[in-house]
């Protein structure tokens, strides 16, 4: 089941689409704040993470997924099949070119679960075409991409949620709220552990034929061209710095985000970063195999993010304060002394944004036009920590970071790493 551009455009018309799919009038026609309106969604990137997005969306009667975009035709068909089966109707639209959904008039919302080097470009096109967006973490590949994305989000008045879903988890919310209300006293140091990185796959690799159904040049997008080899693409892309930032950004985006939240640094960040990671000197993968980054905030709080060595595939964050420690991950919330966790947040104390459903919060905010719990501006600041962490590890020296101007002081080479040229026709312009 393939679809040409012309076919897709035809299907995007309301009348044409009605033949197979029930007519869903996009909310923008009637006003997104109308509570009874069903929002139409197109999912861009429907590989592993994109299927997770689908599972979050398909059970809701407030939204209807009407299209998918993916450069892999197999992914398109698999996702469309799931959607059609769920709705009991045929006609979920498919395309290999995301612009056919970001620019479609009958789409209200766009979710982005592509490889990282596509996050900013896809979200920008959606925002500039009047769509609200849910963008997977890490939000962007570079600091500059994040700056442009946030500026355009505000300029166009769109709603954007970053996929840092730990903010919608009770344990992380509770931990951050306790810390913000001084239950640990002054926080002195934070330890962040993230899962192990890419495996060593040999000093050499061989170019392979591009599999049928994959638009490989489009997959590469703004990144430099390189021959196809299977480990370059699906999932493993995250270990190649042309497309992603390794576990520094993959897991760092989740756990550094909790640190920023607990410290009240959502609009700022550390003022110094130092890295001592290890990078493979040969082979396909280029992301650090061992992450070790130290951050220092202006108030003296220090944070160290390292690769964990116990084989556990989860992150972990331990806040160390004057009055005790608080250890939180997806599977646990512990404190020393234990009494800290029994404390209540009283009237008049700081209450943090409460969400228990990350996608639901985004959809609700689309209707109310309020900022979601992981607004793209927050996701951008967290992603900055990830990206400057990788830069510091590459440079293996201490760097002074200006978290407001978002540049390094006195290091021209480090500042060159804050942005990357994009292969045509792609551009942040």
């Amino acid at each position: 089941m393939s679809m040409t551009r012309r076919g897709f455009a035809k299907a995007a018309g309301l009348a044409a689409g009605a033949a197979a799919f029930p007519t869903i009038i996009p909310a923008k026609v009637l006003g997104q704040q109308a509570p009874s309106k069903v929002l139409t969604v197109a999912c861009v990137g429907v590989g592993g993470m994109g299927l997770s997005h689908l599972s979050q969306l398909l059970g809701r009667d407030t939204v209807r997924v009407i299209a998918v975009a993916d450069v892999d035709a197999h992914h398109q068909k698999r996702a469309a099949g799931i959607i059609d089966e769920k709705y009991g109707a045929k006609g979920c639209r498919m395309t290999g070119d995301f612009r056919e959904v970001t620019r479609a008039k009958d789409v209200d919302l766009i979710t982005v679960a592509t490889p990282d080097n596509w996050h900013a470009l896809t979200a920008l096109d959606a925002i500039r075409n009047g769509k609200d967006v849910f963008v997977e973490k890490p939000l962007t590949l570079t600091v500059r991409e994040g700056q442009v994305l946030v500026a355009e989000l505000r300029k166009h008045g769109r709603i954007g949620q970053t996929g840092t879903m730990q903010r919608s988890s009770e344990g992380f919310h509770r931990a951050a709220e306790l810390i913000r209300n001084g239950r640990l006293g002054a926080v002195r140091h934070i330890d962040v552990l993230i899962p192990a990185n890419n495996m060593y796959v040999g000093a050499t690799w061989k170019p392979e034929p591009v599999p049928e159904g994959l638009d490989y040049d489009f997959w590469l997008g703004p990144a430099p061209w390189a021959p196809y080899t299977a480990q370059r693409t699906h999932y493993q892309f995250r270990y190649i710095l042309d497309y992603a930032g390794g576990q520094t950004t993959n897991w760092g985006a989740h756990y550094l985000d909790i640190a920023q939240w607990a410290l009240g640094m959502d609009e700022s960040g550390p003022v110094e970063v130092e890295g001592h990671g290890v990078f493979p000197s040969s082979g396909l993968f280029t992301a650090p195999t061992r992450v070790d980054v130290r951050y220092t905030y202006a108030n003296g709080v220090t944070m160290r993010m390292r690769t964990r060595t116990d084989g556990v595939y989860d992150g972990n964050i331990i806040f160390r304060g004057e009055k005790g420690t608080l250890d939180v991950s997806r599977s646990k919330l512990r404190s020393v002394p234990e009494s800290i966790l029994k404390e209540e947040i009283g009237p008049g104390e700081t209450r943090l944004y409460k969400s228990r459903d990350h996608f639901g919060n985004w959809i609700e905010c689309v209707k109310t036009r309020q900022a979601p719990v992981s607004d793209l501006a927050i996701g951008h600041k967290t992603t900055n920590l990830c990206n400057i962490g990788n830069i510091a590890m590459l440079l293996q020296r201490r760097l002074a970071w200006d978290p407001v101007r978002e540049c390094f002081a006195g290091d021209a080479m480090a500042n060159r790493m804050l942005s990357r040229p994009m292969r045509g026709p792609w551009s942040l312009a």
Partner: protein
């Protein structure tokens, strides 16, 4: 993966880009190769890139006073007619970190190269160089190039103009 990583203490600094190399065990492979720069220029896609990583490490660790020396050595490989596309890619990525207007002058003719990959790899270098020389080179190439090479160059010109404000 022992022996396949490189680490640095970031303390190298000298006007000679290769100063200290002889005593530094991190650059063993580089020292043991007769002409390591030539090896980089001959690399094909997928081949062992240890030598390129070693040079990258040298450049990442270098003091800014060493950049002109490295730039000259890298440009020599980049402009060698025998340099492979993959080798050119490694050189351009490293060069992009330290390139000056000297690199713009040496490489600007390739910004509109008919080989799309070469054209973009060249832009990796030129687009990272601040100043009017790179602005002019990108604008001129945008007018001369075709297809998506031209689109990429035009985008670069717009982004630089916006970022300069």
């Amino acid at each position: 993966m022992a022996g396949k990583t490189s680490e640095s203490d970031g303390r190298r600094a000298a006007s000679d880009p290769l100063a200290g190399l002889k005593e530094d065990p991190r650059y063993k492979a580089f020292k043991e190769t007769a002409d390591p720069w030539k090896v980089i220029g001959a690399l094909e896609y997928g081949e062992d890139r240890t030598m390129a990583s070693t040079v990258e490490r040298l450049v990442l660790d270098a003091d800014p006073s060493q950049y002109p020396g490295f730039e000259e050595k890298l440009l020599k490989i980049a402009t060698d007619p025998g340099c492979t596309e993959a080798g050119y890619g490694f050189v351009c990525r490293i060069l992009s970190l330290i390139a000056s207007p000297k690199s713009v002058a040496a490489l600007k003719g390739r910004l509109a190269d008919e080989n799309e990959q070469i054209a973009f790899l060249t832009r990796l270098v030129v687009e990272q160089v601040p100043g009017p020389e790179a602005d002019a080179a990108l604008s001129a190439a945008a007018g001369a190039a075709k297809g998506r090479v031209a689109e990429g160059l035009a985008g670069a010109v717009k982004v630089r103009a916006r970022d300069a404000k």
